[in-house]
């Protein structure tokens, strides 16, 4: 199961939201402008390339050059970056393999610890069985859509289109569309949980 373009876009938005809420981290990342950091997610056969910059840390699904450093980690290890660092430990988790510029890798991990991205939440849908992966995609799509519709249409359209508002869908209509999507998303999640349960049952029956 590979990450879809949409998932990359979603993960990029999420990471940048975390960054935006931490000016210290944002400034640190701006200093890494011009570096490419690869994160190879073990167990998924997927590498994410990160290009930090002054405005945005971009996430690329492919990169033709050689990254400045490569971090190899399982989603579990990445998830643990959110835990406070115990005393005497370095920023790089012990079970993370690092190649290339290790100083850069450590610096980057320090920032990742600081911004506390919930990697697991973003990656778990892709690490399960194929069916869970497909559902994960659907959830991701629904979430992206909902956030996008609400943020883009609500704020900006309101500003620009006040006079013409009667001709456009009303805010509550957009919100109800968003809620509809949210409900579908919840139902898909419930369905995923049920399928998982059934699969487990089936597994223990055999």
């Amino acid at each position: 199961m590979s990450l879809s373009d949409l998932a990359y876009a979603g993960l990029e938005t999420a990471i940048n939201q975390h960054i935006a809420s931490d000016p210290g981290a944002k400034a640190k990342l701006a200093k890494l402008h011009g570096k490419i950091i690869a994160i190879e997610i073990l167990g998924m056969g997927q590498t994410i390339y990160l290009a930090p910059g002054p405005d945005l840390t971009q996430l690329l699904a492919s990169y033709e050059g050689e990254a400045d450093c490569i971090l190899k980690a399982t989603p579990f290890t990445l998830a643990h970056l959110r835990q406070p660092l115990s005393e005497g430990k370095t920023a790089l988790p012990e079970d993370m393999q690092v190649s290339g510029d290790t100083e850069l890798a450590a610096e980057f991990c320090t920032i990742l610890r600081q911004i506390k991205v919930d990697w697991e939440a973003y990656l778990t849908p892709y690490t399960g069985s194929l069916i869970a992966g497909e559902l994960g995609k659907a959830i991701d799509f629904a979430a992206y859509w909902r956030d996008h519709m609400i943020s883009t249409l609500n704020q900006e359209v309101r500003e620009f289109l006040q006079e013409d508002a009667s001709m456009l869908p009303e805010r509550h209509e957009i919100a109800s569309f968003g809620n509809g999507v949210l409900q579908v998303e919840q139902r898909v999640e419930q369905l995923a949980a049920r399928i998982e349960k059934l699969q487990k049952q089936k597994g223990s029956d055999n």
Partner: protein, 249 residues
Amino acid sequence: MSEKGTTHFGYEQVKTEEKAERVRAVFDSVATKYDLMNDLMSLGIHRLWKRYAVELAGLRPGHKVLDLASGTGDLAARYSGIVGPDGLVTMTDINAAMLDQGRARMADRGLIGNVEYVQVNAEAIPFEDGTYDCVTIGFGLRNVTNKQKALDEMFRVLKPGGRALILEFSHPRGEPLKWAYDAYSFNLLPLIGKLVTNDEDSYRYLAESIRMHPDQEALRDMMQQSGFERCDYHNLTGGIVAVHRGYKL
């Protein structure tokens, strides 16, 4: 086929010299609300198309990239992030109002230092041969009067080994999609245009210019004619948009 000395302006035939002027007028009228329109028109999907194109550009830190018809600079901003302080992004547009908007937006985002701004007509690029690692034009080629000339120019300013990338509306594959897309772009799109910019005609022009643009195969042939090698294209969203890529070897 155009008659001699005339060219398409959407579905109208206009004198060749008139077209640039009229295209300019379209973008002058939409410049300030361009980003919002982009989001509404494509329901946000244009962001995914652009991300995809950026990956195909194969940029690396230190690269020099020329972005033609940059508009407000969505692509240029991403390039600037990747090429880093040692690279350079030349952000250009034929329209000064658009370029000003773009410059302001880039500065807002803190993208300074590795970006330069030049008013450029894609048909006559004012840079020397072999200057750039990558030349791109996103949703701009269909507005250019002499597309072959623009492709020749893109080829000329590339370094050997460099690549060109064209992101443009194209011709959707499959009848149902074509039908839905026509309904959308000829009815809904001008309506959105009217509501947001009070300028229905400009958006009707956009819809028409998309239909008049060469299809995937035709554009690839044109690239080859300009000297590009290893040309390929990737259809996005069922061919509503395509990314063409070619190398100067």
